[in-house]
């Protein structure tokens, strides 16, 4: 396959081609805004969407003479996160200055943590679609302040700086370079996203920028010991973009190496319109950040009593909930993972199962299937579902007790979703009760057989596929209401003759 300057073909195709030779190595750095009321070092509000610079006080603006004071809630949130990923909590951590010049960084340095972060090594397990569980290492997590925002359009020869976001607390979560595919990366990212929302330390709103991801991507020949040179793709704010950016980047790097070139260690941005990554001009040169402990802040001390206090307040974590669901409801680890993507979804699912305890799998399929599709279509999440758990359980119970078939249930669901009505009302109104009377079904079968002598002959001659034809015709004649299981059984008998 010819390798061009620009990668062509679908990424999956390319990767399939290159799987023999190449291995992808991915590490992710997640920046999650902590859901505090005030900023990390100042008492400015953190609410999103305020008019430009209306939430930037003198400390945020880096005026001469101002000083930082640490927000207590950020410490608790960091510790909560550390406990949830099984990490060590540093009894003493230190804030350090990361020095560089950029207009959205008012002090000319970012207060972050460098040598002594508050959260040490931990891990996060991800469950892939095929059921494999992979443990992704988390190197560390630390507290730091966010920068402001730059606007480059609509101001003529200028860029405009809004410092509302400057000083918003962030937790930076650094993974080990343990991921080997975009799929794994997205699974990990989604898990972290789920976790921070479970812990109520971040609202996870990627559109508003509360949850951002930088991907460090490199490739190496399979079997190679050292990692290849990595490029950092910054500020990916959707799971889809993460996946696409990684695919593009991997293809780009392989292409470079195979053409005899060298991958540059650089910072890149993903352009969603063009579907490609490009070098960030403004950050072209490697920055020497000259980290040193911030002399305006003292070391942060966290003692055992504090940690124990935080531990007591931990909610049931996603993994715990998923394990419980898998055991109690016989779900696959993957399905249990999907159903526990958020606490709200998990709670909703549990509420449904409570009302149809004899068939949790049915509940799982419907919540992950029809319900999820409807939520997606309407662009809402489970908290805004048009149908509550009781309504959905009501519908599922009608499938379980044979009143309607699964297929008809889908129709009923659509009506319920649109009108908010309960299952029984819709079934009654539309007369959708399943026909389970064998005599009635036989009658319908007989009628179809009578008008289809050709197909009958072909079927009996060995064309098994025609079974579907008969099923379809009976369903048509009965308005889709024939009980499928009974239909199958009776039809088989009749066709056999």
């Amino acid at each position: 396959m010819p390798i061009n300057a620009k990668p062509t073909g679908t990424p999956e195709f390319l990767l399939a081609m290159n799987n023999e030779t190449w291995e992808t190595v991915i590490g992710l750095e997640v920046h999650a805004q902590l859901a505090t009321k005030s900023k990390i070092f100042s008492a400015s509000p953190t609410a999103y969407g305020a008019p430009p610079n209306s939430q930037a006080n003198l400390v945020d603006l880096g005026y001469p003479g101002v000083l930082p004071v640490l927000n207590q809630a950020t410490v608790g949130m960091a510790v909560k996160f550390g406990l949830a990923i099984d990490a060590g909590i540093a009894p003493v951590s230190v804030f350090a200055r990361k020095n560089y010049f950029y207009p959205d960084l008012p002090k000319g340095y970012q207060i972050s943590q460098y040598e002594l972060p508050i959260v040490a090594k931990g891990h996060m397990d991800i469950v892939l679609e095929d059921g494999t569980v992979k443990r992704i290492g988390i190197t560390r997590a630390h507290l730091e302040e966010d920068a402001g925002k730059s606007m480059h359009e609509g101001l003529g020869a200028f860029s405009g700086i809004d410092l509302n976001r400057a000083g918003t607390p962030l937790i930076e979560i650094v993974s080990e370079p343990d991921m080997r595919s975009a799929r794994e990366a997205v699974a990990y990212l989604k898990k972290i996203h789920t976790l921070v929302r479970y812990l109520e330390i971040c609202d996870g709103n990627m559109q508003e920028g509360s949850f951002r991801c930088d991907a460090n991507v490199s490739v190496r020949r399979k079997g190679a010991e050292k990692f290849g040179t990595r490029a950092e793709i910054k500020n990916l704010n959707s799971f889809r973009f993460v996946e696409k950016a990684i695919h593009y980047e991997v293809a780009r790097q392989i292409d470079i190496i195979e053409s005899g070139g060298k991958v540059l260690q650089e910072t890149r941005l993903y352009d969603p319109d063009k579907g490609e990554t490009r070098s960030m001009r403004s950050k072209e040169e490697a920055n020497d950040y000259r980290y040193f402990p911030d002399p305006d802040l003292l070391p942060v001390a966290v003692d055992e009593a504090f940690i124990a206090g935080v531990r007591k307040l931990l909610p049931e974590l996603p993994d715990e909930k998923a394990a419980r669901f898998a055991a109690a409801f016989g779900l696959s680890p993957y399905d249990a993972g999907v159903l526990t993507t958020s606490r709200e979804l998990g709670d909703y699912f549990e509420a449904v199962v409570k009302q149809i305890p004899q068939d949790p799998k049915l509940a799982a399929n419907w919540v992950m299937g029809e319900l999820a599709a409807a939520l997606n279509r309407d662009g809402i999440d489970i908290g805004q579902s048009k149908l509550n758990a009781t309504r959905v359980a009501g519908l599922l119970n009608r499938i379980a007790d044979g009143t309607i078939s699964g297929k008809i249930a889908k129709e009923v669901f659509e009506t319920m979703w649109a009108t908010g009505a309960d299952a029984d009302s819709v079934i009654a109104e539309k007369g959708l009760r399943q026909i389970s009377d064998p005599a009635a079904i036989e009658q319908a079968i007989d009628a179809v057989i009578a008008k289809s002598p050709g197909q009958l002959a072909d079927y009996r001659a060995g064309k098994d596929k025609l079974f579907g034809y008969f099923v379809g015709q009976v369903m048509k004649a009965t308005g889709g209401k024939a009980n499928p299981a009974q239909l199958n059984e009776l039809l088989k008998k009749k066709l056999a003759g």
């Binding site: 003479g65 340095y109 002399p295």
Partner: protein, 486 residues
């Protein structure tokens, strides 16, 4: 009775007794400032109108029987303290047009006491210097001899008090910037323990070394002001939450039995023999008063200067990064791009000494040099602090010279590193270790003042002030006024 030579206590008494008003006092001092500013250049801004307004308000308060010991008394702030609505320049072109939008905590506290601000004192640019020759607004002249430097970086503050233009000037000390000018100008300069006085609103030079303090004629005056200035500030994370003792009540603490440590390293080569004579005479007075002199040593003191020349520039290079022409301060004209904006705004805004220190700081923090320089310097810092701690196990206070010589000529400064070094070595140790330290006048050499330095343990301000006060009850060096300023 000349109003301008009265002590703070005398001024307070006079105001309360109605012998004179704050308005009268303020007018008198503003006139003196006006008269002497051309020769001294001690002030960058004079806030005459607001001073008179504040004085009138103070008179009202006093008339109603309200106010405290500092109400209605005029003073000057070093132009490093942010003063709301008033130009705050740090003696730099970078902040030439900067009107501070808030009051520093120190400013707010003294304002709350009813003090009347006459203006902002000249200083070395961004507090970097020890002769007040790096100011964008021109050098300050020593009232004792106009050809000589007043010391720095708080040269303007020292000249104001020495020339009796105001009884109090606030100042800051990072490597000796209160004590050294106090010595060269014949007044009392006090640097508190690190964390004792809030740094909020005090434009940062080297955050782990800076402390705000006072320049006054006497220890008694210093005690009065420090009692109001010191204290915990929740807006400063390095501010210490400890109650402030009544330094004034503590002044009369008896001296007898005080163990005074004489640092061996302070009396080694380089100290001018005449200066040494004055200092030793002062020590003899202490002995006469019942103190005991003990020789002690801070063996690593010699390393305090190289350690300081790493730590201070490192911190300042970072602290001054916020001056970028974007939100306040000097902006270069017609920048062609962002890089040009930064480089020219900063290149034009900062003077040579400031740039030198930023460059040094940037270098010692840079990749490959951080461990060898910055980390090493901070380790040496601990060695020095430990040395001081060991010395204080044997004695109550340390005493010695504040400077190796008396004031030197303007412009003669000194690319000679030895002299530079010697100028710093007496004072820097106290900053590195965060110890309280002061300088009081103890004599003259060729009609120029000599300072005696007193260093104490952490939070031993009361001890230092009472020891200084005891000496000032016995002697009158601190009452001497430069010829022409009586």
């Amino acid at each position: 009775m000349s109003l301008h030579t009265l002590s703070l206590a005398q001024l307070a008494a006079g105001l309360r007794a109605g012998e004179f008003s704050s308005v009268e006092l303020t007018r008198t001092l503003l006139a003196r400032i006006d008269a002497h500013q051309p020769q001294l250049n001690a002030l960058i801004s004079v806030t005459g109108t607001t001073a008179m307004q504040a004085a009138a308000v103070a008179d009202g308060v006093l008339a109603r029987g309200g106010g405290g010991p500092l109400t209605g008394i005029p003073m000057v702030h070093k132009d490093i303290f942010c003063t709301e609505g008033v130009r705050t320049t740090c003696a730099s072109r970078m902040l030439d047009n900067f009107i501070a939008p808030y009051d520093a905590t120190v400013v707010a506290k003294l304002k709350a006491e009813g003090m009347v601000m006459l203006g902002k004192a000249n200083m070395d640019e961004f507090a970097m210097g020890s002769s007040n020759e790096t100011s964008y607004f021109g050098p300050v002249h020593n009232p004792w001899n106009l050809q000589l430097v007043p010391g720095g970086s708080s040269g303007g503050s020292a000249a104001v008090v020495a020339a009796r233009l105001a009884p109090l000037a606030t100042a800051t000390d990072t490597g000796g910037s209160i004590r050294q000018p106090a010595a060269l100008c014949g007044i009392t300069g006090f640097k508190p323990t690190y964390g004792r006085v809030s740094r909020y609103g005090m434009i940062a030079f080297a955050s782990s070394l800076d402390q705000g303090g006072t320049l006054t004629a006497s220890a008694e005056d210093a005690a009065l002001v420090l009692r109001a200035m010191a204290g915990f500030d929740p807006r400063d994370s390095t501010s210490v939450d400890m109650p402030v003792p009544d330094y004034v009540a503590g002044l009369e603490q008896p001296l007898a039995g005080l163990k005074i440590g004489l640092l061996k390293e302070f009396f080694e080569k380089g100290l001018d023999p005449d200066n040494e004579r004055c200092v030793r005479a002062a020590l003899a007075v202490y002995e006469k008063l019942g103190a005991q002199l003990v020789e002690v040593s801070v063996p690593n003191l010699g390393l305090s200067v190289p350690a300081y020349y790493v730590v201070a520039p490192a911190e300042c290079s970072s602290n001054l990064a916020r001056f970028d022409g974007v939100r306040f301060g000097h902006r270069a004209k017609d920048p062609k791009d962002l890089m040009d904006l930064y480089k020219r705004s900063r290149g034009e805004g900062f003077g040579a000494e400031v740039k030198r220190r930023i460059m040094t700081g940037t270098y010692v923090l840079s990749a490959g040099y951080y461990d060898a320089f910055y980390i090493k310097a901070q380790k040496v810092r601990r060695l020095i602090a430990n040395d001081f701690e060991r010395a204080f196990a044997q004695v109550d206070v340390l005493m010695g010279p504040t400077t190796p010589t008396v004031a030197f000529e303007l412009g003669s400064k000194t690319s000679d590193p030895i002299t530079m070094y010697l100028n710093d070595i007496y004072t820097i140790g106290a900053n590195l270790a965060g110890l309280p330290a002061m300088s009081i006048p103890c004599g003259f050499v060729q009609k120029l003042p000599v300072g005696l330095q007193i260093i104490g343990r952490h939070f031993a301000e009361a001890r230092l002030l009472s020891a200084a006060h005891a000496y000032q009850r016995e002697t009158d060096w601190h009452t001497r006024v430069p010829p022409g300023y009586e």
